[in-house]
Symmetry: D3
Subunit: 243 residues, 6 copies
């Protein structure tokens, strides 16, 4: 089974980290293809970055369909382009925020999200409504770590995020942490050990959930709004998306 994990930003060190995390949990027969698009921002920290990252995501889905990909994971906590990607894809497409939040709701009656910059918090808050998870999410917290700071070895992002998690668990009276950035995937095991509560990384749960759906034979519904896009011309730089 082939699962394509799309890091929608173009920072390859992060893509590698995400791919490694995915491979760590993947089943024996699962082939993890971790990619970054050829277009897009070096990090995603707002509505604008996110909206533009969708082009690259859809490029990757488009090529994925001819590569025999069985399922896709969108590895950015804003889950950009999720429904658009589902129109293109035959198999399941899972966002990491979606996967993490749903999973958290099974492990605790309330969870907290700890993410990067405070300005990204609203994106996670909106997603809690989009996914029906608002009732379970007791707070969204910015740790004021920029996304690319997570890639700096000398920067002690672990300590800052740990503190944010501790604060969140107490302030929110919550029982689990959802980690709000794909770039934090390597910190989760350590955070979970130190905090003593489930710390949920969307990358790993999305990969496993994707595996599960493929194993069962479940695909994206092609009845209704997730049917393949209606064929039509696109012009300019985007011409490749039409036909």
């Amino acid at each position: 089974m082939k699962i394509k994990v799309i890091n929608p930003n173009v920072t390859l060190s992060m893509t590698d980290k995400i791919g490694a995390a995915a491979r760590m949990v993947a089943a024996a027969g699962t082939d993890i293809i971790a990619v970054s698009p050829r277009n897009g921002p070096v990090s995603i920290e707002g509505h604008y970055d996110e909206a533009l990252s969708v082009v690259g995501i859809l490029d990757e889905i488009r090529t994925g369909e001819s590569e025999g990909i069985d399922a896709y994971v969108i590895a950015c906590f804003g889950d950009p382009g999720l429904l658009a990607a589902r129109e293109l894809a035959t198999g399941p497409v899972i966002g990491i925020a979606e996967a993490a939040m749903h999973t958290a709701s099974l492990l605790a009656t309330g969870f907290s999200v700890v993410t990067t910059l405070e300005r990204s918090c609203i994106i996670a808050e909106h997603l809690t409504h989009t996914y029906g998870m608002a009732k379970f999410c007791r707070g969204v917290h910015g740790s004021n770590v920029a996304v690319l700071d997570l890639e700096e070895a000398e920067y002690d992002s672990y300590r800052i995020i740990l503190d944010s998690c501790r604060h969140a668990l107490t302030a929110d009276r919550s029982g689990a942490i959802v980690i709000g950035c794909a770039g934090m995937t390597d910190l989760c095991a350590r955070l979970q050990d130190e905090l003593g509560v489930p710390v949920i990384d969307g990358v790993t749960v999305a990969v496993k959930w994707a595996e599960a759906l493929v194993a069962i034979g479940l695909k994206t519904s092609k009845k209704g709004d997730l049917a393949p896009p209606i064929p039509k011309p696109f012009i300019g730089d985007l011409a490749r998306f039409g036909h």
Copy 2:
């Protein structure tokens, strides 16, 4: 890995069917232990049946904890006793309605539930609110098949349920079907083929999700209300539940 799949009613033919469905999708190293409690109703068709089935479920979780069970699936569409079971369990506990509804929300922007008796519909409707899935669930439909009719070979429950599904997809403008009874697990593949939309059976998706969580190392949060029950005496028939 050991996953205990608890059919909370005491009809063993149904337990066997559920166990078979679970084993069909389980990964190589997964041991499926499909059980019915020693106490309880022959079928679960209402609030009363469901409430009483919780005793047997908790018995199975209690013994499961000393049997090295890694995760539990509660295989009745009302997900009886879910939070109580999570207090007892170390590993994850997943309800099949929960698993099916969450999964459906990834495969279509709207799903319909098709269940057994009309009087059970309200239980599914309540669960859509409990799980935050109300926005995705566009309708809950009773097919007027009694649970134990599903065990009767000569009874053409397949045809009746197929018709209910067809009606639901059109009336609800939905893109996927959630099958609202563990006893219908054997009908799903055929329904999916004939309907051409995802038909989601909670048993299989719950088993795979449980496998996924165990693989990642995620367990039930023991901070807060899902911590182990506070030790205290129980009296009468229930004395075994105290200490």
Copy 3:
């Protein structure tokens, strides 16, 4: 008129206290039958305790139906087994959390719940959603008094709860207190005097509401999901619940 007030835990001193509170407000012709089940925990402090207490509650409803009971009150703030009980009962069945929350919404535009352990708070929070009272409930507060501490004369639970109430009224900008445990019923009048706001005890309001419904001739609907349970066999310890 006969009203059966069921304390679902088996601590008889609490049952007596609840019975006394009920009798204090009951009308002249009302016969209050305050009982504890023969099965169950000594106190209810979580999902597990609550789920198991339902067996005893249903026993009491079952026998109640042959004793000519007109209405039932479930005197535990989690309202365990409410819908199951309603299937069995001919007359109304009222939970004390339900009665207290609905009543509070008539006396103030916002109320606070003050309950026992913090781990029980989520149960009250869930009930605010179940009953549509989330908009009125501005906060749920654990006072960290264990249920059975309320039975200890030397333990100054009054002072602790008073402080919790004071904090709640200010922090929540609320106008009334809902007392979140049947075991606190004897403290309410004193709290109300000292706080100068309505302090609502579910036991007394449930009893009076039950009286009211009986007086008017209103009973539990037997159309739909609250119709009598479908007759079927139960096995094991629970065989008495089938037929």
Copy 4:
């Protein structure tokens, strides 16, 4: 105990009917004072009628406070002026829509409202949100009976309303009827007998609930927004409301 039942329209035959219904269920020591204001419309069938009826209601509360009234019932299904009345009143003030809807939610998991003109339906729908009852109310139905037609002996409003109820129970898959007009109070017993489900009349349940609150010693909260109106001048026709 004195309960003032305010029919906010000025049709005295309706006031008499409402008073009679109230007295029928009132306890021995309860004095029912059924009144219509000196100002206002002959019937209330829309936002405009309702808004203007509040003047008369507040007049009745104002005088009630000097008459030793213990509790008030506002006997119009739109519950006009409820919060304003609560500022003025020391004791509880209950609206009949509020009382009926809350009560219905105890007797069935879903109810239907059957009211007079279709244009009034939105008022009931808004109230289901105001009171948190939207989840229980499965439909609001206009029977196209004008309010004053209910006062015409020769007009067969009973038959029309019965048909509306029958339709509502089936179409909504509901288990109880809330009668959406104080002028239908005399039809309820007959409807309940014929329909075989609880038919809830707000007048009677509000009166009994008011009695209950007074018996327990619960009053309107005077902390916060329901405190007595801030003294200030009013001018013109309304000068009597200031001081």
Copy 5:
């Protein structure tokens, strides 16, 4: 085009201030008629004041209809009598809370309301639900300035309100301020300059929105519940409202 701006309290200095603010933003051809009713309270600070102010508002709408008014603005932050006014009016009727909240939701993903007395906060909170704005409103704050204090030159209400706004922006993590009283309209420009975020005054946005609707030819729907009031007698002081 004629827009009638109704200050529902009878304090003419406030009416003048509101009229001036309206004229400042009105287009060249727009005639602003700023009025206070002949009846009503000197300020509106609670449910009671608000409910009674509706009489004067409806008087002004009634006369407005014979004066060729094209649209109305109700210039009190509680938006009293909005739906009743819409039944009477042919053109649009806009409340200032409504206009301000909707507008704020276009300029920021979250806003805070800063109003006068704390007891008025609940009115704004209720309106956020009425208008669907609860998701955007991250907090409602009382500044403890009484409405008429805003008319006292020597009283430094500006400073107090500025502090409330500053606190709200931080505590609520919001991006805009909605000013919760028509009497603060003259403070908004200065607040906006000093705070560096949009400060939205309902008076000006309501006037401009009203102009916009008239320019486009949009009027209040006369299909359904906002159709003209059903003609009927009113008695007493209110007789002028019937026919």
Copy 6:
């Protein structure tokens, strides 16, 4: 004042029609710049088309900022890229679905949306939640007219849409129509005349609302998540979006 109206599809006949509609209602001093991006699909009929159209929208906002644009209107009923556009823009950015839905909620207590293909309905349904308008929107109806059919003179889209509107008003018990496609802007006046209810076209109301905000001096909040995008490199085709 300069308002840029962005038709996010690249069909210029539609852009012209939208520009004409905007100019028809614009005030004397308003300069309407109606544009289509250089990139993108010929029509927008699904999540995929919509997601990709955002690139062109952001191009237009980017250039608009150096052209002295005061406000922007996004003239596609899915309001693509709204929050991303707001990060870039100094002035207000308004979506036509947003403008139309908010406006409809002022003119009727319930509205219906009539749009093009049935597969687009879910997009409008999601927006009713995004904007808090779900409570006002009583139904979303696909008329099965493709977007580009609206540009075909010989195709009788008017008749088909009129029928959809008629059906919607009755089935939904609504009082106004929101037209769910910018390409229908030229049909609205005729529909409104024939239907006798407000028919709201997002293009015109968005333009007027934009004018209003500019006139008052209200701009997009730059505190929080709508602050200018954090400067960072973009690679590939999208490099122009970074710096």
